[in-house]
């Protein structure tokens, strides 16, 4: 990795001291993060250029997932005749937008966070030594290290579906101008939620080593978040909104774009996501202190 000295937080003046002394500011942290991510992206493309058939296979694999998902809901909505059925109050056209958000969320996850599947095993094998550096973020260095070009390709397919789905609700339900601010906000919320939800279901591995609990929770979270929260019983829906904010993955972004939220909730919910992120980051740091290189 060849991040330059000036890319380091604090311009490389001092590493290892307190954040104030080392000049750790938000700007320098972002610059450092972007420099590291640029190298991860480069490595990702180099790696995938050696496995071109695998690249095609993985793109096809995710397209199979998207096709199965789309067909399932097209079949379900078709059961009652055109426009007759809703799913927790979501019409067919709205559900297509919801699916678009799910695909974008999945694409972002697969592009940047694929390393999370290896966390339990790496923790067990004691492979985290190299990412325990200061003042950089161990979580960032670990979870973002596997940039996936095929994930990026599928993200583009997901965006394509989202554009198609939005064409079904614009301008009848959604004003075109609304999209100018709602779509960037939705994308930011999806990215934020994916990162900290992923972190939250991996922290459990610090206490239940190589238990697959992280994978199960990941599957649970993803599967539940892929459907509108209104389909779940009240208590389950509230947990998915306020305790483990899966709603940030697709429900909140789709509802925001479609104008299904009242203004107060739309403004307050991101604050909850920030609080969740702070909590999860603290628990992760505490968990990381339990790591002793050879835990298996």
């Amino acid at each position: 990795m060849s991040a330059s000295r000036s890319d380091q937080p604090g311009g490389g003046r001092e590493v290892g001291g307190s954040r104030a002394r080392s000049g750790w500011t938000l700007g320098s942290t972002l610059r450092w993060g972007l420099a590291v991510e640029r190298q991860y992206v480069r490595i990702g493309f180099v790696r995938k250029s050696q496995f071109r058939v695998e690249f095609v296979n993985q793109v096809l694999m995710d397209l199979c997932f998207y096709a199965a998902f789309i067909l399932t809901f097209e079949i379900l909505y078709g059961l009652g005749g055109e426009g007759a059925l809703t799913l927790g109050g979501w019409s067919h056209e709205e559900m297509r937008v919801y699916m678009g958000m799910v695909f974008v969320a999945d694409g972002l996850f697969m592009t940047f966070l694929g390393q999370q599947w290896h966390f339990g095993q790496d923790l067990k094998n004691g492979n985290l030594d190299s990412i325990r550096v200061r003042p950089g973020s161990a979580a960032f260095l670990y979870f973002f290290q596997r940039f996936s070009p095929e994930g990026l390709t599928n993200l583009l397919f997901g965006c394509g579906w989202l554009v198609f789905a939005l064409s079904g609700v614009v301008p009848e339900q959604v004003e075109p101008l609304t999209l100018l601010w709602a779509l960037p906000c939705a994308a930011a919320v999806i990215a934020w939620s994916q990162v900290f939800l992923m972190l939250s279901y991996n922290v459990v591995e610090f206490w239940l080593l190589n238990s697959d609990v992280g994978h199960l929770v990941s599957m649970l979270v993803t599967s539940f978040g892929e459907r509108p929260l209104e389909v779940y019983p009240g208590a389950v829906g509230r947990v998915l909104k306020f305790v483990l904010p899966v709603a940030g993955m697709a429900w909140y972004p789709a509802s925001l774009v479609l104008g299904r939220l009242d203004a107060g909730f739309a403004l307050a919910y991101p604050l909850l996501l920030v609080a969740f992120a702070v909590l999860v980051t603290r628990v992760f740091k505490r968990g990381l202190r339990r790591y002793e290189s050879a835990m298996g």
Partner: protein, 270 residues
């Protein structure tokens, strides 16, 4: 001592998660989706969920609940791609040592299929008992012993087809550097075309016409319908014949791929 205790507890938690809870999430979500969908249909028809026979695609809400319950149990018996590590053996050149054994290499993998099936029969029985104890009024209770046996035969034949497909895809490691994405892709196709997301018989007629010819339908949807009494012995015989034909074809393909692969194998490694 504390360290050993922690390790034991952790791996048992892993076993419980992997063997009992795994495969239950999707049916659970499916149940919620169907509840909302039938609620919407019932509201449109002026009826309450579960009290009136609102039918969507030939399935009422109580039948769908039973289908989902059956799905949880049946999925436990279907051979999983994670149960084979043939691709790793090929990548690392460890196949050589098996080729000098007094029996065919494939027999080892058949043994793994047998081991998987026996273990999963116990897990499926356990899951069925837990489900029945938790919700006896809604849980799927087979209509007869004969239907249970017929369903079991179809599921196991279908599971063997999955085993052959996963073996073939693993054997592609003779040519490819990575095969896991093919395995995942195969499961997406098998799951959807078998009815893991929507019962095949609830799909539009064109879908049903095509998918009911494939073994996935006879491995997932049809056995559950047999257990529910929606299909009979005639359907079982038709399905068994169709699946047997596909099983033979897959086995021939498996032999051909294996021979071709082995011919280019250089055995670097062990």
């Amino acid at each position: 001592m504390a360290y050993e205790f922690r390790k034991r507890i952790q791996f048992r938690a892993g076993f419980f998660v992997r063997e009992v809870l795994n495969g239950t999430v999707e049916p659970l979500v499916m149940l919620f989706v169907y509840t909302a969908l039938y609620g919407s249909a019932a509201a449109a028809a002026g009826e309450g969920v579960g009290t009136e026979p609102v039918s969507l695609g030939g399935w009422t809400y109580p039948e769908i609940i039973q289908y989902v319950a059956g799905l949880v149990v049946v999925r436990k018996l279907i051979f999983h791609s994670r149960a084979l590590d043939l691709a790793t053996e090929i990548f690392e050149g460890r196949v050589t040592k098996y080729l000098v054994m007094p029996f065919r290499f494939f027999v080892l993998h058949q043994g793994r299929f047998l081991q998987f099936t026996l273990l999963q029969l116990a897990v499926a029985a356990l899951v069925w008992c837990i489900g029945y104890a938790a919700a006896p009024a809604y849980w799927l209770v087979p209509v007869s012993v004969a239907a249970t046996l017929q369903a079991g035969v179809l599921v196991l034949m279908g599971s063997y087809c999955c085993f052959l497909i996963f073996f073939i895809l693993n054997a592609l490691a003779f040519w490819l550097d990575v095969v896991w994405s093919l395995l995942v892709m195969a499961w997406f196709v098998i799951g959807f075309s078998g009815g893991a997301l929507v019962p095949v018989s609830q799909m539009p007629a064109a879908f049903y016409g095509v998918l009911s010819l494939g073994f996935p339908y006879w491995m997932i949807t049809a056995p559950i319908e047999l257990l529910m009494g929606r299909l009979g012995t005639g359907d079982f015989l038709l399905g068994a014949g169709l699946v047997a034909g596909q099983l033979v074809a897959l086995d021939l393909l498996r032999r051909w791929v294996w021979r071709r692969g082995l011919a280019r194998y250089v055995g670097a490694g062990m």
